[in-house]
């Protein structure tokens, strides 16, 4: 069971790299949604499957894998922006940063006092790696939509942490977070539209200069 879970978490860590290395918005969104789907499948591997878990998995896959990416794609089309992500931190440096962060996460997880049943699992390092990858995307990308993707990957990391507590809290917290996030993405979609109308570009660097 842990082995299967580790395969998925390993895959999610690989997708983190892909997200850091992708230079086009659609591929970044695709990577993020694929990671969302992987994360949605994970509860099915951890618990005995009853209707509640199945529903949660379905909701996560739909939310992270379809709805949010769909909204982002729509925002991208509506705002009519270029697909090129121009990064503050170049692709290779951000890849290296991400790799360092992941190695650091694995090392740190080793030092944490975990429950014995979590010791062999990659949940904790995977969660921290995703959070840090999300941070790197948030700081390192100029386009608002790429930053949203970074934010969503960060949230994926939080979700992974939440899976540790799946025995005691039946993903209620996660459901709340996901709801917040959907609202957040809605709001960001509107903001993206506004920025586009006001500045003819989605480059957040232009927001630092004041204009009449």
């Amino acid at each position: 069971m842990t082995a299967n879970l580790n395969v998925l978490i390993g895959l999610a860590m690989g997708l983190n790299l892909l997200a850091l290395g992708s230079s086009r918005l659609p591929s970044l969104i695709r990577t993020m949604s694929l990671q969302g789907v992987l994360l949605g499948v994970m509860p099915l591997l951890m618990e005995k499957i009853d209707w509640q878990i199945a529903l949660i998995a379905l909701a996560t896959v739909a939310g992270k894998g379809l709805i949010i990416p769909g909204l982002l794609r729509r925002a991208m089309r509506a705002a009519n922006i270029e697909r090129e992500i121009d990064p503050f931190i170049g692709y290779v440096p951000s890849l290296l940063l991400g790799a360092t962060a992941t190695i650091g996460a694995v090392a740190l997880a080793q030092a944490l006092p975990l429950l014995p049943e979590h010791a062999g699992s990659l949940l904790v390092p995977g969660a921290m790696a995703s959070v840090l990858t999300g941070f790197i995307l948030l700081i390192g990308r100029a386009k608002a939509i790429a930053q949203v993707c970074g934010y969503l990957i960060l949230e994926n990391g939080i979700y992974l942490f939440g899976l540790l507590l799946i025995h005691s809290t039946p993903l209620l917290v996660e459901a709340g977070v996901l709801l917040d996030l959907t609202v957040g993405v809605f709001v960001i979609g509107i903001i993206v539209d506004r920025i586009q109308r006001a500045f003819d570009s989605l480059d957040t660097r232009k927001l630092t200069a004041l204009r009449e």
Binding site: T2, A3, N6, V7, I9, G10, L11, M13, G14, L17, L18, G21, S23, Y91, V92, L95, L96, G98, A99, T102, I103, V106, A109, Q110, A119, G120, S121, L122, P125
Partner: protein, 302 residues
């Protein structure tokens, strides 16, 4: 005596089957593009034709011009003998043979680039420079991949390392190794084997001045390398040791065929990357292999 016969027999299989792979790749590409394409055995015909042609030697070239391809081919052949073939095991196997394999691959590359620079042509120097600079990252990825297999199995012998599946990191390792395969064999996102624009080619640029049997040897060596990498990739991912001999042989063949078809599809649907984007892809391959290593180290134990 029986070991000698075994090795000869094994080698004959490797050498005979290798030129089939580029043929299959070309067939797939033709099929996707809706053309009829060259016959699957085209490379065999080419090799036979080249073997009969005479060699044109530059007055500048030292004997290294001919020795390079020969040594390269021999080292690739030796590397092939170290690769286990599922239930048959490897022709030669000892503790630490994985290191020898890596070095033999590096030696083969060195010999090709050495022979390329013998004629003093600017294009070949450029091709060699590109080949070697990509190799810096591709070899790092390869070493990381082998290291992760070795950590996962706790062994430094290829026969043992390739027996079980690569564990939780298998998918990452497969993605990394596939990218390395594409880079090492000069397939599409890195180099276009069909291009004859000197400014964009890598492998082709290095072999421009070779003709006749040396060129045949280089081409055959390249196909041998492709087969070696696809066998390695298949065996790293599939749990060879747990299958019955028949199933393992079938799985190996199916795996190699899948990898070949995958290469053909990648070539059909992807364009060659701009040079500045290649290091990014290769860095990603290195990191994928490093992550596989990390996972084998921390997550595979449980």
């Amino acid at each position: 005596m029986s070991t000698v016969i075994d090795i000869v027999f094994r080698l004959a299989w490797w050498l005979l089957l290798a030129p089939l792979l580029p043929g299959i790749i070309n067939r797939i590409k033709a099929w996707v593009a809706g053309r009829r394409g060259p016959p699957v055995l085209q490379l065999y015909y080419d090799l036979a034709r080249l073997w009969q042609k005479e060699v044109v030697l530059s007055t500048l070239a030292s004997p290294g011009f001919v020795a390079g391809p020969a040594v390269g081919w021999i080292s690739l052949t030796a590397a092939v003998l170290l690769i286990p073939l599922g239930p048959l095991g490897a022709g030669l196997s000892f503790r630490g043979d994985v290191v020898l394999m890596l070095y033999l691959l590096a030696l083969a590359r060195f010999c090709t680039t050495w022979a390329a620079m013998e004629t003093g042509s600017a294009f070949e120097g450029m091709g060699s420079a590109r080949e070697v600079s990509y190799a810096v990252l591709a070899e790092a990825a390869m070493i990381a991949a082998m290291l992760s297999l070795s950590v996962h199995t706790g062994s430094v012998s290829l026969t043992k390392m390739l027996e079980p599946t690569a564990g939780p990191g298998a998918v990452l390792l497969a993605a990394g190794l596939f990218t390395v395969l594409l880079a090492e064999n000069c397939r599409v996102p890195f180099d276009d084997p069909n291009t004859h624009l000197e400014l964009t080619m890598i492998h082709e640029a290095m072999v421009l001045d070779h003709s006749g049997p040396p060129l045949a040897v280089i081409l055959h060596g390249a196909s041998l390398k492709l087969l070696l990498f696809s066998v390695l990739l298949t065996e790293a991912v599939l749990p060879m040791g747990q299958l019955s001999p028949f199933a393992a042989t079938g799985a190996l063949l199916a795996g190699v065929l899948t990898v070949t078809i995958g290469v053909g599809l990648v070539e059909s649907f992807l364009a060659r990357f701009a040079f500045r984007r290649v290091p990014l892809l290769l860095t990603m391959a290195v990191l994928l292999c490093v992550f596989a290593l990390l996972i084998a180290w921390k997550g595979g134990a449980a």
